[in-house]
């Protein structure tokens, strides 16, 4: 334990209003902490640069999963265990349920929250590819306001996001219109469990008479933050699925992906595997189970 708990303040006001008030009165002074699965790791390593923390754990207004006619709405404080237990999620948003099962282990899933995963903003975030391809919207709240932005505009740089210093991520809205889309999500991690993603690719596509009428590709670890692959999507959109198109898709993603070498993998590996994953998805669309 390299961090000194005596040098950090932590308060738990207990309600959303009280948390927002605190953040409004001293903008930027308070670091929100939910399940602690990121910040407590930094704390143990003596790298937690947050003298004042406000606890979001147990704030009831943040922990929910409910549905409207158009969307499934997930509170930022919902844990990944909550998502896995939610019939709404497992039935309608299978990719998100799958992503939730990737988070660390059972003990991590019972603490890690969807909001925490997004605000932490790791390029490798497990939930991000699913949210990107489900075209999620982020609802942001502060004492003064609330607003919604597309998730694919939430991350603005390496570990940077669209939140102002007094704002909290409140909820994620997931449109209920992907039931007829073909869906794909695969993570390639350092091992089968307790793994940080080396590369992950999600995809949703709507196919009409063999033509890709709608496609979204979301990737982890191919850029400084989780990102849609718009140029690759464009290369595939409104095209009939053929072997040639699969090669076009490969070429597009190899060009668009800008991964890095780091302690867990290499840029070369990430690019090639991303292309292979896309190919695997496109072969599925073609109706061929596996690439020979």
């Amino acid at each position: 334990m390299r961090g000194n708990p005596e040098t950090h303040e932590l308060v738990a006001p207990g309600s959303l209003a009280a948390v927002l008030h605190l953040m409004a009165v001293e903008p930027g002074a308070w670091t929100p902490i939910a399940g602690g699965t990121e910040l407590m790791v930094a704390h143990a390593a003596g790298r937690l640069n947050a003298p004042k923390l406000v606890s979001l754990w147990g704030v009831p207004e943040l922990r929910f999963v409910h549905a409207t006619d158009e969307s499934i709405v997930v509170g930022a404080g919902a844990t990944f265990a909550d998502l896995r237990r939610s019939a709404l999620i497992t039935e309608e948003l299978p990719l998100l349920a799958k992503a939730a099962s990737w988070i660390g282990s059972i003990a991590n899933q019972s603490r890690a929250t969807l909001g925490g995963n997004l605000v932490n903003g790791s390029p490798a975030a497990d939930s991000s590819p699913a949210l990107l391809v489900y075209d999620a919207e982020i609802e942001i709240i502060s004492a003064r306001d609330s607003r919604r932005i597309p998730y694919h505009k939430f991350h603005t740089g390496y570990k940077r996001n669209a939140l102002a210093v007094d704002e909290l991520l409140y909820a994620v809205h997931l449109p209920r219109r992907f039931g007829h889309h073909r869906q794909y999500l695969r993570k390639v991690g350092t091992r089968r469990a307790m793994a940080i993603s080396k590369v992950a690719l999600g995809a949703t596509a709507f196919i009409e008479t063999g033509v890709i009428r709608e496609i979204r590709l979301g990737a982890a670890s191919l850029a400084a933050f989780p990102t849609r692959l718009h140029r690759t999507e464009d290369a595939l959109l409104n095209k009939p699925i053929t072997n040639d198109l699969i090669q076009t898709g490969r070429n597009a993603i190899l060009t668009e992906a800008l991964p890095i070498d780091d302690i867990r993998s290499t840029a070369e590996y990430r690019r090639r595997v991303a292309a292979n994953l896309l190919e695997e998805f496109l072969f599925e669309l073609l109706g061929v189970e596996k690439r020979p």
């Binding site: 091992r191 595997v273 292979n276």
Partner: protein, 752 residues
């Protein structure tokens, strides 16, 4: 002879002796222990791989008067860790030879202040050019050790290798490499030390070898035997990683305790343990092999190099075991093995389960498959044609005097794994699947106990005594760290004495109470120490018969006789000293003769799937078939094999030590990847039992064997799956991609 007699307790699945304590959270590991007035210690380490220490200064932002500060100047005796060659300083004195080398120690009552202070010690260096690899060390441009960077070398010769090449039908060469591996015991290294003028030094710690620590403390503090006391606390995994390092940590804690006048605890956190403590030696092995037209081995020329790191530590004995295991369980008339341990500016490599054998066996068994491919023989058949049998001589011309049943083990392994049918099926299916499957095999033996004359030099003393309250205690310095020492040795004593398992306990692992029965290493506990406990128990029965009127064989008779003996003689104790089996000959100079008292034999089979989407290899199923003498405890023995196989899988496919400027860059569990419960395949463990007459109740060594086989079996299975030889481990998906890309087996990516 005990080896064939039916037994009551030996061979039965009795509960682990200390099992309940571990299961209810009562077992006391070193970090669970607090001493009155205890302070904490911290280590200030080198941040460069090689250089001269120009100055040490203390930032005035810290009130240093609160701290105890220890440097090399405070060492009262010899500033050297006492292993084989005393070249490693306890604290760096004027120069550093690797990153994370200990330079200065601090103690303070408050752990948090200690960490802040450690960051405020400023050390200035004059850097020297570092040497990081075997190849750089071989070039000898920079001499960092002795005159030639060689920590140790061996030459093993048999027959006349040079006469064979001109006429041999087949000549096959290959180069094989293995990486460093971290033990990753889940309990980090830790030690508590106390000092006072009357009693000297007492340390409590997580360790394998109490008398190794004892020897170093005597030298570092210049104290007589009785003023140094080493007590093993419950130890949360070791695997060799707590064989050599605890001598350093105990010295550090004791130096701080002596200077501060307080008990001092030094418990490493994971990052420090990973960065600063030993790993398995990386290796590079080159094979050149001649065979006749029938696939019989004619000559083997082997050049074996290991990276020893910055100091000698145990590298000479690791190299010795690697050398002796480098030719595999095969008959070959002409052999030359030249082996060297090279110095580098890396944290010294140390003992790790297998101790050089896994490296050498990886090369030999991977090479066998390349030979098979080159000359067009089935890899199973090639091995079968060259196996050692009873009466044959191995590389050191040790004649196999005990039964050798490699053929039987092989048949069993092939049958259990359905090897041939699966290979045929995969050969048909692989061309149309993106997941390619393969089967791989490894045949190997592992020598039990110390090499050559090692056991004679150890001169182990072990025994049993009987307490006033009617418990038999096993008196050994061999320790429990999960492998089952407590259970096995108490089973043996209970069996031999004709009493219940619950009548026997272990004497505390405390040098004040136990004789030196040698270190807990080298797969020697069951075979060598078990035999000593068995002999001492039988000797005790004889004493009781001769001097205390023991007549019957019941438990009651035994304890009644013990009481009579105690009345007459004071204490009831029986100790035995090691005696070599008869007819043992070993020449340490020429490396000829009986290298090991006994060998354990094994055939391992791996079923592997290689995903061509992710370039990852996945072990789907694993069979471990072995002959380890008598199995003393069926559950513990299985656990040893399964645990070793899992570690071997990690060694082959997951575990990579990343060095940046000589410092371990991935020194966190997040980034040093070991297999989880979701990553290990089913592991099928099969024992064939041939009791060994000189081992404890017929046992041979078991602990290290299972780490030898998985890596070559897995890499051979990968070769079978994809048709491409891969000769380096660890093989992560990135590495497999690089191999395939270099062979143009994957599509070229477009330019960015």
């Amino acid at each position: 002879m005990s080896t064939t007699a039916t037994t009551r307790i030996v061979g039965a699945p009795v509960p682990r002796k200390e099992g309940v304590d571990k299961l209810v959270g009562r077992a006391q590991y070193v970090d669970d222990i607090e001493r009155e007035g205890m302070w904490h210690g911290a280590t200030v380490r080198s941040t460069i791989p090689r250089g001269i220490i120009r100055s040490i200064t203390f930032d005035p932002c810290i009130n240093w008067s609160e701290f105890t500060i220890v440097t090399a100047a405070d060492v009262p005796g010899k500033n050297h860790i006492q292993l084989i060659v005393a070249d490693q300083p306890c604290l760096a004195d004027g120069k550093v030879n690797h990153c994370d080398e200990a330079i200065l120690l601090l103690a303070h009552p408050d752990k948090h202040k200690l960490l802040e202070a450690a960051g405020a010690v400023r050390i200035a260096y004059d850097p020297l050019p570092p040497v990081f690899t075997i190849e750089e060390s071989e070039k000898q441009n920079e001499i960092i050790h002795g005159e030639d960077n060689i920590l140790k070398s061996f030459l093993l010769e048999k027959g006349d290798v040079d006469s064979v090449w001109a006429t041999a039908a087949h000549k096959i060469e290959g180069e094989y490499r293995t990486g460093a591996q971290e033990h990753l015991y889940i309990e980090n290294n830790g030690m508590i030390a106390e000092w006072n003028r009357e009693d000297g030094i007492t340390v409590w710690g997580s360790l394998q070898c109490p008398y190794y620590v004892h020897k170093t403390l005597r030298a570092v503090f210049d104290l007589p035997d009785e003023k140094v006391r080493v007590i093993q606390t419950e130890t949360g995994g070791a695997f060799g990683g707590k064989e050599d390092y605890p001598s350093i940590l105990a010295s550090h804690a004791a130096l701080l305790a002596m200077k501060s006048g307080h008990p001092v605890k030094m418990a490493y956190d994971r990052m420090e343990d990973l960065a600063a403590t030993t790993k398995r030696h990386p290796s590079r092995v080159r094979h050149r092999t001649a065979l006749d037209k029938d696939g019989k081995l004619l000559a083997m020329e082997i050049d074996l190099a290991i990276d020893g790191g910055a100091y000698s530590t145990l590298s000479s004995t690791v190299l010795s075991r690697a050398t002796l295991h480098s030719c595999g369980p095969y008959v070959c008339p002409n052999i030359r093995v030249r082996s060297r341990a090279w110095a580098t500016n890396i944290v010294p490599y140390g003992a790790f389960r297998g101790f050089g054998a896994p490296q050498a066996i990886f090369a030999m068994e991977r090479h066998m498959d390349e030979i098979a491919a080159a000359i067009g023989i089935d890899p199973v058949e090639l091995r079968r044609r060259n196996f050692l049998h009873e009466g044959d001589a191995n590389a050191t011309e040790q004649r196999m005097r005990e039964p050798v049943i490699l053929d039987r083990l092989l048949d069993r392994a092939l049958k259990e794994s359905d090897y041939h049918a699966k290979r045929a099926r995969y050969a048909r299916e692989n061309p149309i699947n993106s997941v390619k499957r393969g089967m791989g095999i490894a045949a190997f033996y592992h020598g039990s106990g110390f090499t050559g004359s090692g056991e004679l030099y150890l001169n182990s003393l072990a025994g049993v005594d009987v307490t006033v309250d009617g418990k038999v205690r096993v008196l050994v310095s061999n320790t429990e760290f999960g492998q089952g020492t407590n259970t096995i040795l108490t089973q043996i004593a209970a069996e031999a004495l004709g009493i219940d398992f619950s009548d026997v306990i272990m004497a505390p692992a405390d040098t004040a109470h136990i004789p030196n029965s040698g270190p807990t290493v080298a797969s020697r506990t069951s075979m060598v120490v078990g035999r000593l406990v068995e002999r001492a128990s039988l000797q005790l029965l004889a004493m009781l018969r001769d001097h205390a009127g023991l007549g019957g064989r019941s438990r009651g008779d035994f304890f009644a006789a013990c009481a009579r003996y105690r009345e007459a003689h004071g204490k009831v104790e029986s100790l035995c000293r090691y005696e070599a089996p008869p007819g043992i000959y070993w020449n340490d100079q020429t490396y000829h003769g009986e290298a090991y008292g006994a060998y354990a034999w094994a055939i391992y089979v791996a079923q592997v799937a290689v995903d061509t989407v992710t370039y990852s290899a996945d072990v789907e199923d694993f069979w471990a078939v072995q002959e380890v003498g008598r199995v003393l405890h069926p559950v513990l023995a299985k656990g040893q094999i399964e645990g070793g196989v899992a570690q071997g899988i990690g060694y082959a496919l997951y575990e990579k030590v990343l060095l940046e400027n000589g410092h371990m860059a991935n020194n966190q569990m997040t980034n040093y990847i070991i297999p989880t419960a979701e990553d290990v395949p089913p592991i099928h463990v099969i024992f064939e039992q041939i009791p060994f007459r000189y081992g404890g109740y017929g046992a041979k060594g078991i602990g290290e064997l299972p780490h030898d086989g998985p890596a070559p079996a897995i890499l051979n299975a990968i070769r079978d799956a994809i048709g491409v030889p891969v000769n380096t481990i660890p093989l992560l998906p990135e590495d497999l991609l690089a191999v395939l890309a270099a062979r143009k087996c994957v599509e070229e990516p477009v330019a960015q």
